[in-house]
Amino acid sequence: MNNFPALIVVCPLCAALLNLVLNRINEKLGKAVIVLSVAASLIMSVFVLAQVITTGTIHYHMGNYDMPLGIEFVIDTVNGLIVVLVSLIGFLTLLFSDNFGYKFKTRLTKGAANTVLTLLIVGLLGMTLTGDVFNLYVFLEITSLSAYCLIALGGERGIFSAFRYLLVGTVAATFYLLGVAILYGVTGTLNMADMADILNEGGKDQAMLLAICFLVPAFGIKMALFPFHGWQPSAYSYSEAGAAPLITGVMGKIPAYAMFRYLYCIYGTDFKYFNSILVIVGVFSVFGMLYGSIRAIAQTDIRKILAYSSVAQIGYISLGFAIGTPIALCGAFLHMLGHAFMKGGLFFCTGAIRHKFGTVNIEDFGRIYKKMPLTCGTLTIAALSMVGIPPTVGFFSKWYLGSAAAMQGEWIYLAVLVISSLLNAIYFFRLIEKVFINEDKSLKERVYDEFKTCGWKLVLPVVVCFIAILGLGLANVKIIDILMLSLKGVGLC
């Protein structure tokens, strides 16, 4: 019980490496170990979350070193929830990716793909849990490297996108490291809490400003915040189909959470230039929300539509950070959770359609609902949630963001929120129209000779996302209450 925070990360990490060996013996065995390990993480993370809710923030010291010398995992209710999210979507993606095994030529690549996908989960979990700025860098790089590989596995275009992402992503990591170096230079510590204490003593505003100038672009690139999103649309679109839900649904959110940590937990509202930084983040978000939606309207490949829509949706999250009241932060995190299921769900659906009919062009989707009613149900509900139609989770996160903006008197943010949802409506209702109304293209089902389809592994993720989108919507107050436990005193009050 006490070691759960560490085990959440260590379990899948060991399984991922073990898989390389087991895969040589038996392909299924390796996969089973991975799936079980992530399932174990999921269960442990739920336990840890329950514990955090009842007893308060957990500080886990790796190897029992005294703080601030050792590496610390800090779990409050916010990242407790995010860890559950990551392991859940990771678990579903692992199951889902089984259906795309036919694309790999050899058993070795297939096994390696599973390992890399698990490492991505490990990296994301670690980034969320850690309370140490350099440890965050390590997990960031684990995440990035596995993401490069998974994107490169998506075929010829994937390789090209992966390389571009690699260049940009490394620039981001380097910037991050530079930011850390500057902060380390003035504080002499790497522990986030310790660093926050030292910075709060004051007098280091210049160095802090310099560091944040590197940190915001670094996280901006990693989360694909406008205008740092250039790598994202093609990388999201051409990533390996089996891993796409995790990459698109979760990968961009964790750097956003890290940015929140820096802004609110390390820097804090006492920082002299805090409001200016928030305004800059706000401007990025506003333009991102508009730009992403407008570009998405022009696409016909569903994956590209969804990728550009992510640029807009990440804007919602960073908009919450920019407004900066506890309610806005709650809205941002609710959107983070909700959007993971919406975008993940949409990619699960797209993947299922692609798996069955081999197309990703929305022009081919005519009346596909007759063949895949469940998938199209989730597609619809996720799309409605993106637009922000009640009672889906998308509406409620928008409500919190909107009301926080109104209470702060940020009318522009409120207006952009409305405009952006209307732009979303244009392309998502176009998608719904294609799925339900357009002429049937009578697509041929793909037949897999050597490969048997695992029906339930396609269905389960789709169903879970469906339930989560509605469930998070109706139970949003519960989530907000949990988030509030940690966010109460944070931000501008």
Binding site: I327, C330, L384, V387, G388, I389, P390, P391, F395, F396, K398, W399, Y400, G402, S403, A405, A406, M407, L414, A415, L417, V418, S421, L422, A425, F429, E433, F436, I437, N438, L474, N476, V477, I480, D481
Partner: protein, 511 residues
């Protein structure tokens, strides 16, 4: 502990019953026989009627039926509150759901329509949302059901799935979603400034919370959603476009759910959020009233020129709905009561007209009025009902339209606004001008009378047709009879007139 069937659970059940029906129809629809599917609709409709009617005595006695289900967003519950105004709308919607459902079955089968499962599921969903709109106790609950209604109506509008349907679907979505999102922003502003969203008869927005220069903007941001759905000009153009849908859908849009939900939204925003004083002080009510007046005239003139029967009825709806908006904006108790009662009166009359138009279309495949010469001879009951309803729309005494209109006129006189009163009188005449010719044409004798199979036929085209099928005929006769009965005894049965008056008095603080 609340029993499942206790009084305060009933609004929840009324919403749930058609929600469950919608789910069942969607899931089972293709798997069970069509009769079974329609059985679900009818059962749900009957249950809903029972649930809604059973609340009448309590509301009439002045008991407020309140229930807070759970927190829907931080600080605000998903709450229902059955008041007199909501009761009026709920009674109408639930009653007409049963009748339209019966009629729909006849229409859809008679016409051999496709996609019936989706149709009935979306229909039930619309009704569920409408119930939620009736009973919502605060703006958030209201907005949730309002948006569900918007989305659930979309599949009905694009029912035929052709290019024309898609184009009107786009138009519909553009109007309703944009206004809906602006409504959302308005609600957010109200919440940020006033800190509450609970409907209060007479309004809760005060000048010290919402500065007057902003009040007008917020007023129109919120009322916009209502008047788009109610088809007030210049925001009406989705409504005639939506005429491409099957006739029962038009009946639903025009008489039962959608446009009425718009009118009801206007009522809630003007009288329960802003309140008469605030609405007057920010000049919102006055501007809106003049918009309604213009709409009444313009729509009547357009209606005269339309040859397509459904299009003529659509413009008639636009005009009639503006009566309600005008009644609300006059801001007197009598006018408010009249406006509410007009929801009832117009519903029964307009649904009769649409059902008659649909019956003609299914039986003879005629859409245009000019083709209907002599049709009354072959379909006497249908056309008689049509004629009676037309007279009612024109506002003749002893028809349902009279009671509501008279009240609005009294209200206008009490508020010292004779121009509004004159508008209503004129528009009654205009309604007679555009609706009665239809009956005249239908019953016209042509010089060349012919006999086919020994029967007297006026127009050769109609030789092979008889009266519409029973499933369509019975509902339309019922609605026609009700609209006459309500004209003679406005309070008949459901005490709807009392409810309207009660609501009017509550808003203006008269006990």
């Amino acid at each position: 502990m609340l029993g499942l069937f206790s009084l305060s659970m009933r609004p929840v059940l009324a919403v749930a019953v058609s929600l469950i029906a919608a789910g069942l129809i969607y899931v089972l629809g293709e798997r069970i026989h069509a009769d079974g599917r329609e059985g679900i609709t009818i059962t749900a409709a009957v249950l809903k009627i029972i649930l809604v009617y059973s609340m009448i005595p309590a509301v009439l006695a002045g008991t407020e039926i309140k229930i807070e289900l759970f927190r829907i967003v931080k600080g605000i519950s998903l709450a229902f509150n059955v008041d007199a105004a909501g009761m009026v709308f709920a009674c109408i919607a639930s009653t007409l759901w049963l009748l339209t459902s019966l009629y729909s079955i006849g229409y859809m089968r008679g016409h051999g329509e496709k996609n019936q499962t989706g149709y009935f599921a979306a229909f039930a969903m619309c009704l569920s949302a409408t119930m939620g709109i009736c009973f919502a106790a605060n703006l958030i609950t209201f907005f949730i059901f309002f948006e569900i209604l918007t989305v659930a109506t979309y599949p009905l509008v694009v029912h035929y799935r052709d290019e024309e349907g898609k184009a009107s679907g786009h138009k519909y979505l553009a109007y309703t979603l944009i206004s809906g999102q602006i409504f959302f922003a308005g609600i957010v502003v109200i919440y940020a400034t006033c800190g509450t969203l609970d409907f209060v008869p007479g309004g809760f927005v005060t000048a010290d919370k919402l500065p007057m220069q902003w009040a007008l903007l917020v007023f129109f941001m919120m009322v916009g959603a209502g008047i788009v759905k109610a088809g007030v000009m210049p925001l009406h153009s989705w409504l005639p476009a939506a005429m491409v849908a099957p006739t029962p859908v038009s009946a639903l849009l025009h008489a039962v759910a959608v446009v009425k939900a718009g009118a009801f939204c206007t009522l809630r925003v003007v009288l329960y959020v802003f309140g008469p004083e605030m609405a007057k002080a920010c000049h919102g009510a006055e501007i809106l009233a003049w918009m309604a007046v213009i709409t009444i005239f313009v729509s009547s003139f357009i209606a005269i020129r339309k040859d397509n029967l459904k299009a003529r009825l659509a413009f008639s709806t636009i005009g009639q709905l503006s009566y309600i908006v005008l009644g609300i904006c006059i801001l007197t108790p009598a006018a408010a009561a009249g406006a509410l009662y007009h929801i009832v009166a117009h519903a029964f009359m307009k649904i009769t007209l649409f059902m008659a138009a649909g019956a003609i279309f299914v039986t003879t495949h005629k859409k245009n009025i000019s083709d209907m010469v002599g049709i009354g001879r072959r379909m006497p009951i249908t056309m008689a009902a049509f004629t009676l309803a037309s007279v009612g729309i024109a506002g003749f005494p002893f028809f349902a339209g009279f009671a509501s209109k008279a009240n609005i006129i009294f209200g206008a006189m009490a508020a010292n606004k004779p121009l509004f009163a004159a508008t209503l009188v004129c528009s009654g005449l205009l309604a007679a001008v555009y609706l009665l010719p239809v009956s005249i044409i239908a019953f016209k004798k042509q010089p060349a009378e012919v006999h086919v199979d020994g029967q007297l036929v006026v127009n050769r085209d109609f030789a092979k047709y008889g009266e519409a099928s029973k499933l369509m005929l019975i509902p339309l006769v019922i609605t026609c009879v009700i609209s006459i009965l309500l004209g003679i005894v406005p309070n008949l049965g459901l005490h709807l007139y009392d409810f309207a008056v009660m609501a009017g008095n509550a808003i203006f603080g008269i006990l």
